[in-house]
């Protein structure tokens, strides 16, 4: 199994994977830049109620003052989240939500579905005919790619987000919010995101096994996860959707006071399933087990490409 994993990791070192990871990191940097700019805009022109806009009436002073205070709070929250330690929460939340879905769908599509499209599946399965092992190696390596992307995204954000925040003129966080403030929360979020990336990878590998083609596998994996997101909003059965398990496990909830979103997930789920964290983890584990069974069953089909 060790050499098989080595071979699979070596195959992962390819432009498709670098591109997907780089695109995800670039997207998060853009998001940090946009959040910093929005925060700067908020500071420059706080949201004052229309009736008080341009008014110096004494009755408006509290509302204007509150608008300035809110803008400063939001800017400070954005600036605090854009520090090296805390920004890991953004990287983790994003990789455990839609950006992570797209990343793992792309990687699984190329790494596993592509074996059929390029017909390399023949040499792969004749050299290692124990198909369960091949599936396990594929799952572990797609998962590893997701974890690597998480590390890269955090590192890139840690390096660039403070610069972005400073260049936007956001108020500097106080001494309590120094560079490594929030590291513990980020590490916890990253740990949770690793589990979710395992689920996304399992979906990608199962999709590759069913679809047997790079583009088809990517589409099926991304499509399946989007469907679970839609289902999560359905009354009754919504709680049983894997998207609800992810939401519960990651603790995704209402947006914070800053401009930088910590995930793209809960905003697509209307209503709440009220699952606990452990229930979410159990749901993820059961979903992975079901996906593994489906993939193993499908991989037993004839290889005719």
């Amino acid at each position: 199994m060790g050499w098989l994993l080595t071979a699979e990791l070596r195959k992962l070192w390819r432009p498709l994977v670098w591109g997907a990871v780089a695109a995800t990191a670039a997207f998060l940097v853009l998001l940090a830049w946009a959040a910093a700019n929005n925060a700067r805009g908020g500071l420059a022109s706080p949201r004052v109620p229309d009736v008080c806009a341009g008014s110096a009436a004494p009755a408006c002073r509290p509302a204007i003052s509150r608008a300035h205070r809110d803008a400063r709070t939001a800017a400070l929250a954005t600036s605090t989240l854009e520090q090296p330690g805390a920004v890991g929460q953004v990287a983790a939340g994003m990789l455990a939500s839609l950006p992570g879905v797209l990343l793992t769908a792309l990687v699984a599509g190329g790494h596993w579905g592509g074996e059929w499209g390029s017909r390399t599946i023949r040499s792969l399965l004749t050299r290692e005919g124990r198909r369960g092992r091949v599936l396990l190696a594929k799952w572990l390596t797609v998962w590893a790619a997701g974890i690597a992307a998480l590390i890269v995204c955090w590192a890139v954000l840690a390096a660039l987000a403070p610069l972005i925040s400073a260049s936007a003129g956001l108020p500097a966080p106080g001494p309590a919010a120094a560079a490594w403030h929030g590291l513990g929360a980020s590490a916890a979020a990253a740990g949770h995101a690793v589990v979710v990336l395992g689920l996304f990878s399992a979906v990608g590998v199962a999709a590759g096994t069913v679809a047997r083609g790079q583009l088809a596998a990517t589409a099926v994996a991304a499509g399946a996860l989007l469907v679970t997101l839609v289902l999560a909003s359905a009354g009754g059965i919504g709680a049983w959707s894997p998207a609800s398990f992810v939401q519960a496990w990651m603790g995704f909830g209402p947006a914070g006071s800053g401009y930088l979103p910590a995930s793209f997930w809960s905003r697509f789920i209307s209503g709440s399933a009220h699952l606990g964290e452990l229930a979410g983890l159990a749901g993820i584990a059961v979903t992975v087990a079901v996906l593994a069974a489906v993939a193993r069953w499908q991989l037993a089909r004839d290889v005719t490409t």
Binding site: W3, L4, T6, A7, R10, K11, R14, P15, S118, R119, T120, R122, S123, L124, L125, T126, R127, E128, G129, R130, A300, D302, V303, T304
Partner: protein, 339 residues
């Protein structure tokens, strides 16, 4: 009491053995009741027109396709057995590689996939055997088709497998490459490697293979030593005058064959016997010619004139007697019907 035990009996097992191997895809039957055996050390040719079932057979042997019926053994182990398959070097149709990796890296990945440490010396050996040392560091996406074919062969030879299964290995090779491949296969056979070679280049098969099987529409139609199917399988072409046609038909009916007007083609190796039979009936032939059909001629006869797949076999093939009798009977009827 000597205290010595007799040496353990070492059973010689076939490198490949199929018994009644069958595969259907929906209503279409791809391989139908295929039975054959490849002895260790043989270079075995597997012939058939496009769509005859050659690749499906190879895929079943390599565990890529599950047989619908029948049994198969590789290197003495009953299939499915991934460990037995992993010991086989194989190359199915156009070999496929990871284009973003170099030729050398592709070979190292394949070795690691098989559970072996990628041994640089072994990789260098197969690259040298296939003449790819100079381009081994280049990305495979820049390889020509011939280079990919060579790389496929290099991959199949990794780890010195006791059995090499090659499906159309000469595709994309230039004449020099084909000659090199022929020499390479000869060298492998000399080293004791069993080679199962599926090819449509009959001249190559004729030169390289010890034994040949021909399949058509999924059925084995002939199997035996290469010489029995081709060069040494002679026939006699007789031309007689119109008044002698009836008498000649009676005399020549003792052998299988066919008739086209005043010309008889008799499947018999000795022209002297045919001449004597005609002379005994007072028939003077216009011409008596002994022909030596090539493997290609025989192959085309088999796949065009015998599409239903009546099986024949060489004299030392498994089940040869009954199968050979089948052909004799069928062809004799054909000749009789012409009379």
């Amino acid at each position: 009491m000597t205290g010595r035990r007799p040496a353990p009996y070492r059973r010689v097992v076939d490198a490949i053995r199929c018994e009644g191997l069958t595969k259907r895809f929906g209503a279409a039957i791809a391989v139908d009741d295929l039975t054959l055996a490849v002895a260790p050390g043989q270079v075995y040719g597997f012939l058939g027109p496009n769509g005859a079932g050659k690749t499906t057979t190879i895929r079943m042997l390599l565990g890529l396709i599950a047989p619908g019926a029948g049994r198969a053994w590789l290197l003495g182990r009953p299939l499915p057995d991934p460990r037995a398959v992993a010991r086989v070097g194989s190359m199915i149709e156009e070999p496929a590689f990871y284009p973003w990796l170099s030729g050398r890296a592709n070979l190292e990945v394949q070795a690691a996939t098989a559970g072996r440490r990628p041994d640089r010396a072994e990789v260098a050996r197969v690259l040298s055997l296939t003449g790819l040392e100079e381009v081994a560091g280049r990305k495979v996406r820049a390889y020509s088709q011939g280079m990919r074919q060579r790389l496929g062969l290099a991959a199949a030879l990794l780890g010195k497998p006791p059995l090499l299964i090659a499906d159309e290995p000469t595709n994309g090779l230039d004449p020099a490459g084909i000659r090199e491949l022929r020499d390479l296969l000869g060298g492998l056979a000399a080293d004791g490697t069993t080679v199962f070679l599926s090819s449509h280049l009959l001249a190559e098969v004729e030169q390289v293979c010890d034994r040949v099987a021909v399949i058509s529409r999924g059925r084995l139609v002939e199997e035996g030593p290469t010489g029995q199917l081709g060069v040494t399988r002679r026939r006699v072409r007789v031309r007689v005058e119109q008044p002698d046609v009836e008498a000649a038909a009676v005399q020549l009916g003792r052998w299988p064959g066919r008739r086209d007007g005043q010309v008889f083609v008799v499947d018999h190796g000795r022209g002297r016997d045919v001449n004597a039979a005609l002379a005994a009936a007072g028939v003077i032939a216009e011409s008596v010619t002994v022909e030596q059909p090539s493997l290609e001629d025989r192959f085309l006869e088999l796949v065009t004139e015998n599409p239903a797949g009546a099986r024949t076999a060489g004299p030392d093939a498994a089940g040869a007697g009954a199968a050979a009798a089948g052909l004799t009977e069928e062809d004799s009827h054909g000749l009789a019907a012409d009379r």
